[in-house]
Symmetry: C2
Subunit: 357 residues, 2 copies
Amino acid sequence: MPIATKGAVKTLSSLDIERLGSPVVLSNTYHLMLRPGVEVIRNAGGLHRFMGWNGAILTDSGGYQVFSLADRRTVTEDGVLFASPIDGSKHILTPELSIEIQRALGSDIVMCFDEVVALPSDRETVASAVDRTTRWAVRCKETFEKTRSGSINPGALLFGIIQGGTDDELRRRSAEGLLKIGFDGYAIGGLSVGEPFEDALITLDALVPSLPTDKPRYFMGGAQPHQIVEYVKRGIDMFDCVLPTRNARHGHLYRFVHDDLSQSDFYEVVNVTNAKWKGSTEKIGTTGRTGRQDGQGHDPVVPYVLSSGRPDFNEELSRFSMGYLHHLFDTEEMLGYRLATVVNVSFYLELFRRLRG
Amino acid sequence: MPIATKGAVKTLSSLDIERLGSPVVLSNTYHLMLRPGVEVIRNAGGLHRFMGWNGAILTDSGGYQVFSLADRRTVTEDGVLFASPIDGSKHILTPELSIEIQRALGSDIVMCFDEVVALPSDRETVASAVDRTTRWAVRCKETFEKTRSGSINPGALLFGIIQGGTDDELRRRSAEGLLKIGFDGYAIGGLSVGEPFEDALITLDALVPSLPTDKPRYFMGGAQPHQIVEYVKRGIDMFDCVLPTRNARHGHLYRFVHDDLSQSDFYEVVNVTNAKWKGSTEKIGTTGRTGRQDGQGHDPVVPYVLSSGRPDFNEELSRFSMGYLHHLFDTEEMLGYRLATVVNVSFYLELFRRLRG
């Protein structure tokens, strides 16, 4: 899922995302409640209409952002009181309010409001957050059911969020608690927060087999392409990831190197601001090198064609060269950030198409 | 003509410009020779291929920029020696070199290299610039003819530039000199540089009747919509204008108010960053108010539909609201600058369609 934190995937319009072929974007309750405010979006007829997006929207509950971004927060059993970093104004988020806001936004996939803790934390802190997240999940489910009728999107789904850090027993306890309540999908929160990649894999190895096979499993947070391959192997279905869009704005482009996704070197990240790209006539939509020499001792560039997405967007990828993109970054033209974003989001979407086979 | 100073119309891709339906863009010899350099564009196969643009390109000769932007310039009969404001490196532009560069860029409409003077200047200075511009125009024409064979765009046109400030006699002298040499079109330079609008009109009234009716007349430089109407009345066919793109980046949007272009209030400029647009559900592609009350005492919003351009771009205009655009500017999302640019370039293109009738 590309990330539309504030109602727009950075540099792209909703029409662009449709052209790229992404079925869903993620947006953030926390950011939208502060700007433009829930009432503005409610009056617009919901977030889909506000941002002109015909696909699906998953909304964060605000739990993660309240813990990582807000000023002066106070956590009680009721919820979280916090100050806006924009203007210092006081706000509150409770499980009930988070669900009501997500209903007002018209989200297709509503997330439970959870308590997030930083890692590493002592076991007691993590255990306390797990148990509170489960108690809050009960309140989220109740509010979700109560607000179904009258909602602009009564067919929405509700996902629970499994916490527990890298402690297998706490993860199991969290999962069992949520399974008893029953959700439409299960998210794994509190990973990809700075812990070693191996620890995340071990956690998933222990946790995922206990999840139902007929419900989506959503890994919350960013992951590099080779990490995504490993997570998918372990049964993850959904990701949100800020890396393709954020890296694009620094000129870092993802490109396939070869077709064997079981090798972690199947992709490369090139920096288009590097002087070596000045004057390059290589197309931005090509995938980089095969990594294997052909008969003449060359390492050929392998083109790829997007297998989905609206065909007019393939033109966006095939028309421009790396040399042009280098020039756009050199002269700080906004178009450069946009084309780089198109390249990276295309790469991630193509990766998922390949993983689905 | 939208302006692609450095090989990109600010915030838009060449594909966007095609979708908007503009047949031609303007680009700048001066900016491109400094970055990325002529050799990069020559190796890319010309500017059209470099920027992925299938329409026509008019290139400035560099005359205006050398006089207005370059550091430490020295003008001789041969040409202009100047230092790059980017890195201080020394460069020279002569009539011959300017034409050769424009040929290498593959420009469709090549402009003569002219001497520009600031207004107001004393009559002697203006007269001297007129005469030098005529002598340089001879050299430009010679070089243009000599470089036709072997050019990547042998069908290109060459335009002469009439100087002379607001002095009718000097303007006539300039025009006569250029007409004797013979060009494919005639540009009027050195207006729209801070002189009163009335003075520009008086100058055009005196000058334009002396120009041939079967060659295009190009007014160089920016103009507000009501000024363009007056210039077109006086026989001008072509404009370049930075206003729609520059104003867009400040949130200033052009909108039609009514259909009577003979009234100078046929348009308005609204500032989408203004708090009054917060939460507005009005579509960005609508044209504003009629300025006349209907039967119910309301002042209705009149929608307009782009009569040309690729239909998928009308979607870009009809899908997003002023409230969404306000939010994008408020949160400094790059998409805001791009959508505002789409609105303003659409407005100017629509204005020209209406003027052609």
